[in-house]
Amino acid sequence: MTQAMADAMRPPFPAERGLDVYNKKLGMWIFLASEVMFFGALIGSYVILRFGAAGDWAKPGVVLNIKITAFNTFLLICSSVSMVKAYAAIQDGYPDKLRFWLLMTILGGACFVGIQVFEYIHLVEHGFVPSGVREGSELAEMVAAGSLPAATMGLYGSTFFTMTGFHGFHVTCGVLSMLYLYVTKALPGKYTAQDFAGIEVVGLYWHFVDLVWIILFTIVYLV
C-alpha cells in the first residue's frame, strides 16, 4: 500500500509510531489471531479424537458428497478472487468495478451457504446427525451391514457438524457484513482510492474464512 493511502486511513490524532498499519486493519488481524485459536481448538479436538479413535474412520465419500463440496470449495475460492479484485479495483479508484466484484463475492458466499444448508438437509435425511447415525436411517443400515465403522460414527458426526457448522456460521457473518458495506458504503460510492478500509478489512476476514475452508475440506472430506 502506498504511504499516502496508509496515511488517509490513520487516526488524525498524533501518536507514537505503532505498527504502521491503520487501526481497523490491525484490529482485524488481531481478531483473526483469536480465530486461529478458536478453529485451532475445534480442529485440534478433531485431530486428537481421530488420532486416538479405537477404529477406522468412515472412508471419504461414503457419507459425505465430495463432488458437491468440491464445487462449493471452488465457489469459495472464486469468491476470494472476486474479493481481492474488488479490493484492487477500489485501490485503483474504480467504484463501479468495486460494486461489481463485491456483489460477485456476496453472491458466491451466499451460494456457498445455500449449498451447505442443502448438504446438511441431505445428510440429516440420510441419517447423519451430530450424535452420529440416526436409528432406522439409510446410514444405520450401512453401519449394520458393516460398510461403515460403528465405533467412530458418533465422533464423525460430532466433529463434522461442529467444525463445518461453525465455518458456515463465519461465512454467513461475512456475507452479512459485506452486504451491509455494499448497501451503506459501496452503493452510495463512499469508498475512494484514499479510503477503502472497510473493503480491505472485510476482505481479510473473507480470505481467512476461505483459508479455514481449504484446511477443513482437506481434513474432513478427503482424508
Binding site: 507514537e16 505498527l19 484490529g27 483469536s34 485459536m37 478458536f38 479424537l49 450424535s131 465405533a151 458418533g154
Partner: protein, 588 residues
C-alpha cells in the same frame, strides 16, 4: 441494575450534548465503560462472597441450620440446612463468579479499560463501539450465569472446571438447564473477552501519545497489554470447549463420551490450555498495578524496570506450556508430566525476579503509607506465600499427595485473594479520584486493609494444614471420614475467620459508596504521581485531552536529584529534553 443507575451520579461537572443514555448506559467512553465494569464486577464479587459464606457455614457447622437459610427454597436448603446438591452448586458458582466475573472483570474489564487510554495518552480506545459491545456481552454473560441459579434444578454443579463427563451428562450431574446455561454464559463471556482484548492490543500498539515509547510505558500498561494477548489467544479455546460441551449437552455429540470413542481427558487439555494462561490473566495486571502503587509509595523509580518487563513476558510465554500441571494425576501421559513439571518450576524464576524487584524498589525509599501503598506491600507479602506454595504442587511427587486437597485451595486464594484482590483494592482507592472526582476515606481505608489482612490470613493460612492432613476439596461433610474428624475445630476456626473477613468488607463497601457522594473533592494529582492521567482534571473529561500530551520520560522518575519536588511528571519538559520524533498528525 444498580450498576448503571449509580454511574449517573458520578460526573456532572462536564456537560456535553450527549443524551443521558448515550453518556452513561450505551456509552462508548472508555472511562464510563470501565466504571460500568467496576459496578458489574463488584456486584459479582459480592455474590461470590455470599456463596463462599454459605460454603463456610456448611464446613464450619455441618448440618446446622444456616442463619437466614430458611429464606432459601426447599430444593437448596430445607429448614436452612444446606443440601449436598446445593453445596456443590455453591462450590461451582463461587469459583465461576469469582474467576470469570469478579477478578477477571475487575482487572481486565475495569483497569484495562480505564487505564490504557489514560496512561498512554489516547483520546479513547481504538474501537469504542466494540468496547461497548464487550461490556454488554459480559453483562449478558453475567446475567445468564446469575439466572442459572434460579432454574428448577439449580445451577451448574460440576465444579468451576466443569470436568466432563460429569458436566456433559444430566443423568450423572442431576442438572440439565443449569449446566447448559453455564456453557452459554461462558461462550458469551468469551466473546466479550476477545472483543476487549483486541481493543486493548490495538490501542496500545497504535495509539500511544508522542514520546510514549514502549519502554516508557508504566508496568501496569505492560502487564495489561501482555494480559490482553493471553486473553485473546486463550479465551477462544475455552469458548470452543464450551461450545463442544454445549453440543454434548444439547445435541448429544460424543466429544467427551468414552462409550462412543470420545476422550474424557480432551476436556481437561482444552480447559487447562485456556486455564493456565487464565491464571496469569488474573495475576499479571495485579502485578503491574502493584508495581505502580509501590513505586509511587516508595517515591523511587521502579527497581529493574526492564527485567520487570521481561519477567512479565517470560511468565506469559511460560504460561502456554505449563497447563499439564493441573493434570499430573489425571491419567495423563507421565512423560508429559515430567516436562510440564520442569516448565512449571521455571515460572518461579520470573516470579522471583518480580518479588525481589519490588523489594528493591522499597529499599532506601521514602515510604509513604497511603492506602494504595499498604495494599501494594500487602500484595507482595501475600503473593509471595501464594507463589511459594505453588512450588509444592509443581513438584510432581508431592503434587500426587496434595493435589485436590485444601492445599490447592489455600494456594489459589493466596494468589487470587492475597494477590489479585489486594492489588485491586489498592487500585480502586488509587484511581477513585480519577473515576469519581473524590477521594476515598483514608482512615477507614486503613482499617479495612488491616482487618482484611488479619482475617484473610486467619482464613486461608490454616487451609495449608488441612491440605497437608489430606482434606479433600469440595466435600460437603468431611466428618464422613474418620481421619478428617479431628480437623473440625480448624474448619470451624476458618469459617469464623471467613465471616469476619466478609464482615470487614462492609467497611470498604460503605467507604466506597459514601466517598462517591460525600468524599473529599480530589485535586488534580492527589498522589503526586508522574502518570499522564494525573495531568487531567478529576474526574477525567470525555475525550481525555484537548491536545495530546507529549511524553519526555518514563513513569517512575521519583526523587530525581536536583529537583525540588520528589516527582517528575512524564509530560514535564526539562531544558535538556528533546521533542519526540513523532509521526505527524494527519487530517482526513
Amino acid at each position: 441494575m444498580t450498576t448503571v443507575a449509580a454511574a449517573s451520579h458520578t460526573a456532572h461537572a462536564h456537560h456535553d450534548d450527549r443524551s443521558f443514555i448515550k453518556k452513561y448506559i450505551f456509552s462508548t467512553d472508555h472511562k464510563i465503560i470501565g466504571i460500568q465494569f467496576l459496578f458489574l464486577s463488584l456486584f459479582f464479587l459480592l455474590v461470590g462472597g455470599f456463596l463462599a459464606m454459605q460454603i463456610r457455614w456448611q464446613l464450619g457447622f455441618p448440618g446446622k441450620p444456616m442463619p437466614g437459610g430458611s429464606l432459601l427454597p426447599e430444593t437448596m436448603a430445607p429448614g436452612g440446612v444446606i443440601l449436598p446438591e446445593y453445596y456443590i452448586q455453591l462450590v461451582t458458582m463461587h469459583g465461576t463468579f469469582m474467576v470469570f466475573f469478579a477478578i477477571m472483570l475487575l482487572l481486565v474489564g475495569v483497569y484495562a479499560n480505564f487505564l490504557i487510554p489514560l496512561k498512554i495518552g489516547a483520546h479513547d480506545m481504538a474501537f469504542p463501539r466494540i468496547n461497548m459491545a464487550s461490556f454488554w456481552s459480559a453483562f449478558a454473560a453475567g446475567g445468564v450465569m446469575l439466572a442459572s441459579m434460579y432454574v428448577p434444578e439449580g445451577a451448574a454443579r460440576a465444579g468451576w472446571t466443569m470436568y466432563a463427563p460429569l458436566s456433559a451428562r444430566e443423568d450423572l450431574s442431576g442438572a440439565a438447564l443449569g449446566q447448559q446455561l453455564w456453557s452459554v454464559s461462558i461462550i458469551l463471556f468469551g466473546l466479550s473477552s476477545v472483543l476487549g482484548s483486541l481493543n486493548y492490543i490495538t490501542t496500545v500498539i497504535n495509539n500511544r501519545a508522542p514520546g510514549m515509547t514502549w519502554f516508557r510505558m508504566p508496568l501496569s500498561i505492560w502487564a495489561l497489554f501482555i494480559t490482553a494477548i493471553l486473553g485473546l489467544l486463550a479465551v477462544p479455546v475455552l469458548a470452543g470447549a464450551a461450545i463442544m460441551l454445549l453440543f454434548e449437552q444439547v445435541l448429544g455429540t460424543h466429544f467427551f463420551d468414552p462409550a462412543a470413542g470420545g476422550q474424557v481427558l480432551l476436556w481437561q487439555h482444552l480447559f487447562w490450555f485456556f486455564g493456565h494462561p487464565e491464571v496469569y490473566i488474573l495475576i499479571l495486571p495485579a502485578m503491574g498495578i502493584a508495581s505502580d502503587l509501590i513505586a509511587n509509595g516508595s517515591r523511587k523509580p521502579i527497581f529493574g524496570y526492564h527485567s520487570m518487563v521481561f519477567a512479565i513476558c517470560g511468565i506469559a510465554f511460560l504460561g502456554w506450556i505449563v497447563w499439564g500441571h493441573h493434570m499430573f494425576v489425571s491419567g495423563m501421559n507421565p512423560t508429559l508430566g515430567s516436562s510440564f513439571m520442569v516448565s512449571t518450576l521455571l515460572i518461579a524464576v520470573p516470579s522471583a525476579i518480580k518479588v525481589f524487584n519490588w523489594m528493591g524498589t522499597m529499599w532506601r525509599g521514602n515510604l509513604r503509607f497511603h492506602v494504595p501503598m499498604l495494599h501494594g506491600v500487602g500484595f507482595v507479602a501475600m503473593f509471595t506465600i501464594g507463589g511459594l506454595s505453588g512450588i509444592f504442587m509443581a513438584a510432581t511427587p508431592v503434587d500426587m499427595f496434595i493435589h485436590d486437597t485444601y492445599f490447592i485451595v489455600a494456594h489459589i486464594h493466596y494468589v487470587l485473594f492475597g494477590g489479585s484482590l489486594f492489588a485491586i483494592f489498592g487500585a480502586i482507592v488509587y484511581w477513585f479520584p480519577k473515576m469519581f472526582g473524590r477521594m476515598m476515606n483514608e482512615g477507614w481505608g486503613k482499617v479495612h486493609f488491616w482487618l482484611t489482612m488479619l482475617f484473610y490470613n486467619m482464613t486461608f493460612f490454616p487451609m495449608h494444614n488441612l491440605g497437608m492432613a489430606g482434606h479433600m476439596r469440595r466435600l460437603y461433610d468431611p466428618n464422613i471420614y474418620d481421619f478428617l474428624k479431628p480437623l473440625q475445630p480448624l474448619n470451624t476456626f476458618i469459617s469464623i475467620s471467613a465471616f469476619l473477613l466478609f464482615g470487614s468488607q462492609i467497611i470498604f463497601f460503605v467507604n466506597f459508596w459514601w466517598s462517591m457522594f460525600k468524599g473529599k473533592k480530589a485535586p488534580l494529582n492527589p498522589w503526586e504521581d508522574n502518570g499522564l492521567e494525573w495531568t487531567l482534571p478529576s474526574p477525567a473529561p470525555h475525550g481525555n485531552w484537548e491536545t495530546p500530551p507529549t511524553v519526555y520520560r518514563g513513569p517512575y522518575e521519583f526523587s530525581v536529584p536536583g529537583m525540588s519536588e520528589d516527582y517528575l511528571p512524564q509530560t514535564k519538559k526539562l531544558p535538556t529534553d528533546r521533542e519526540p520524533a513523532m509521526t505527524p498528525a494527519h487530517g482526513h
